[in-house]
């Protein structure tokens, strides 16, 4: 449950988007600082700005230029990218937001494909004359047609002459 009702007006959507974007940027900088074990003062020296600029960037009132954020993340040796739904797709965006674990989803799909492949080896496809599409063919021609379906060297397909089997 959310503390806020879903954004209905354009103004509400803009407020939410601005806050989410700003918060994500700030947490990215904080995470990079923690990874590099670097303090705000040291980062300011690295980027070439005053410590109060860094402090302001991480505060609630922050409204930094995109260029400043990029420079700071680059100074922290952080690889980063901007993503949006139109360009990168919803799943990538959900993954970045943490709503969907994309890697886990891919792994799950790969496991499913692996399972299907292993099942495929166990399957036997049996064809009979009656399974063939209705064509005006003689019995011999129909059998020949059915055999064409048997791929060369593929044991999964087997032609069964049900009439002969029943007669036997």
């Amino acid at each position: 449950m959310s503390l806020l009702k879903a954004a209905e007006t354009l103004n509400e959507r803009m407020i939410d988007a601005a806050e989410d974007f700003k918060f994500a940027m700030q947490m990215a900088v904080r995470a990079a600082m923690k990874k590099q074990n670097i303090k705000q003062r040291e980062l300011a020296a690295l980027v070439g700005c005053s410590p109060s600029n860094i402090s302001q960037l991480l505060s609630y009132e922050a409204n930094p230029r995109a260029e400043s954020v990029a420079k700071i993340l680059a100074a922290l040796d952080e690889d980063f990218a901007f993503a949006c739904e139109s360009l990168n797709g919803k799943e990538v965006l959900d993954h970045i937001k943490g709503d969907v674990d994309l890697l886990e989803k891919i792994e799950r799909k790969n496991r499913r494909i692996g399972d299907l492949k292993s099942q495929l080896n166990d399957w036997k496809f049996e064809l009979s004359v009656h399974d063939l599409p209705p064509m005006k063919l003689s019995r011999g021609q129909a059998k020949a047609q059915a055999r064409k379906i048997q791929y060369a060297g593929n044991d999964n397909f087997n032609f069964v002459d049900t009439d002969q089997a029943q007669a036997a």
């Binding site: 449950m1 959310s2 806020l4 009702k5 939410d16 989410d20 995470a31 923690k34 609630y60 943490g98």
Partner: protein, 134 residues
Amino acid sequence: MSTLVEIVKGKYATVLATKKVEKDLKKIGRGDRRSIKRLQNHMEHYAKHGPDLLDGDDQFKYEDRVNMGLGDGQTVKVYVFKGPNHLRVYGCLDNDGRVSLCGSTRVKQKNKAIQGDLEKAAKEFGKYVSGELS
């Protein structure tokens, strides 16, 4: 009857609140959406990633150890989720921090915590521990 509301659930923790806290925050949100959105982002981050990256001055902080009011002298650590404009939501964590129960809220004029708010949050947590709240 359920008297707690789940605000956000993540890999790391679940943030719960009493209905009173939820009502108060929703009321503030109707007039100041930006502050509540920011506060909610702090809670969501805590629920997804834990408290490591949250800043003590602006976002999430340990306040004090306060009596739970169960009559046996048990105390609990009270934490605060901070929002802009001195918006504060006080809550307690269960033993490993996987559940955060928000028990009181306040929009203050000064940065210093009001002891009554901490005690209220601790007492609500006491009720949760004793099973009065679910």
